[in-house]
Amino acid sequence: MSILFLTTPEFWFDQIVNGLTTGSIYALVALGYTMVYGVLQLINFAHGEVFMIGAFAGYGVLLALGGQDISGVMIVVALVLALIAAGLASGATAIAIERLAYRPLRNAPRLAPLISAIGVSVFLSHLVDDGFLNGETKHYDQIFPAGKLSLGALNVSYLQLFLMGASLAMMAVLYWIIQRTKLGRSIRAVAESRDNAALMGVDVNRAIVATFALGAIMAGFAGVLYGLFFSSIRGSMGFIPGIKAFTAAVLGGIGSIPGAVVGGYFLGLAETVGRELLNEIPGVNLPNEWKDVVAFALLVLVLIFRPTGIFTQQEGKRA
């Protein structure tokens, strides 16, 4: 155990805060995977691109409002508008994808919509990269006030605080919609049985579209938070966070909403803290890219040993 103390407490707190920051983004994106899987048993592999569209919508709003020059109370206004624009753009993109790429294949074999999803994913990332940006990377303006909160060995930047707090608030609102509103009830009913929900008078297609839209709005918000934190955005930016968020959803048990959130934070922590823990072993020095190795090794292990998720009870098949 003593090897842990070769590095300072500050270092480990930093790792934990970083893990929770990226974990917040994974959790927000993972919600869309898990909700769509819940109602359609479909892995929406284009969800990473829905996240990317949100990042660009937010970027556009910040740029239009003055970019680097935004200051004072306008920062709050700009952030709110960027988030709204991202939610709308991502939501509209997801609704279009559902209508054009998934609904026509609703009764086709399971492999068909999956291939369609991968096709949409590749199409959208290349459309933005090659069609609009000529491979260029864009950068979010750093409008968020620098500075940090320090409590002893714990340092959290204001941006990280905002990111973690905003994500929690967004997830709380989503949870309320799913658990306490009529729309949420209809989504849960459709997830259990499309036929039985229809017999209650639920317009099943509408509930499915609402599921895509809600998940996409969360992904759009996550896109803006990602841009604010990591700055660089491009058409292919959704790929890795998308697969990581999918991993988070699988870790938490795909189809489970609380599972996606817990899985997101767990993955965020595992890949930052996990890599640093491995680095504590004498002679090991893993560069930052090993985060991805840790994350995807986890995915493979979970799929082999606990395909229903590591936090769920193994459920017997119910009649």
Partner: protein
Amino acid sequence: MPLLSVTGLVAGYGGITAIKGIDLTVDQGEIVTLIGSNGAGKSTTLRTISGLVRARNGRVEFLSKPIEKLAPHKIVALGMSHVPEGRGIFHRLTVLENLYMGAFQRGDGEIADDLGKVISLFPRLRERLKQAGGTLSGGEQQMLAIGRAMMARPKLLLLDEPSMGLSPILVQTIFETIQSIRRQGATILLVEQNAAMALEVADRAYVIESGVITLSGRGAELAGNDSVRRAYLGEG
């Protein structure tokens, strides 16, 4: 003018034609039963009427409107409730949420009143309101399914095998409930394998065999028919 009128209805799944030209009517205030053996096409008939299965041919008129091309939720909105085979309880929703699902199409202010009525009809549900639907016993689930259908204030209630898997005492309770629902003004189309019970409560009955109606008449009349007694009442 019958409340429900089905003419030459043909439907099936994939390459199988399960019903091959069904004609039946249900008048306002009646209990009509459709009896027949396993696989005769009883459930498919109900599923086609409520829109879950697309009609390949024929007509379904409800309140004098053609409904055979409507989506199920639109048929619910017209005032038809279908309690499917196996009850269709949402296992992960609470009992209370299940009951609210029954009133999904309603926007009036009397949903809470109706909730009170359903709970007084089935007091067993009261203590289980916060429990997940999947934790109920078979009998409780059947009560929940019927209570949930009542929450829609249906003009026509389609019941698919409400007695299935229940003890004789519970079957008795369910049939008493069906009669009390009718006394409150609902019209019921009942599908049953328990032909004796069904013929006892029904005003009229149809016998379905291999997807076609082979006999029809008043409930008591059919209960006295020799071939019905032999085939469905286990006599002779």
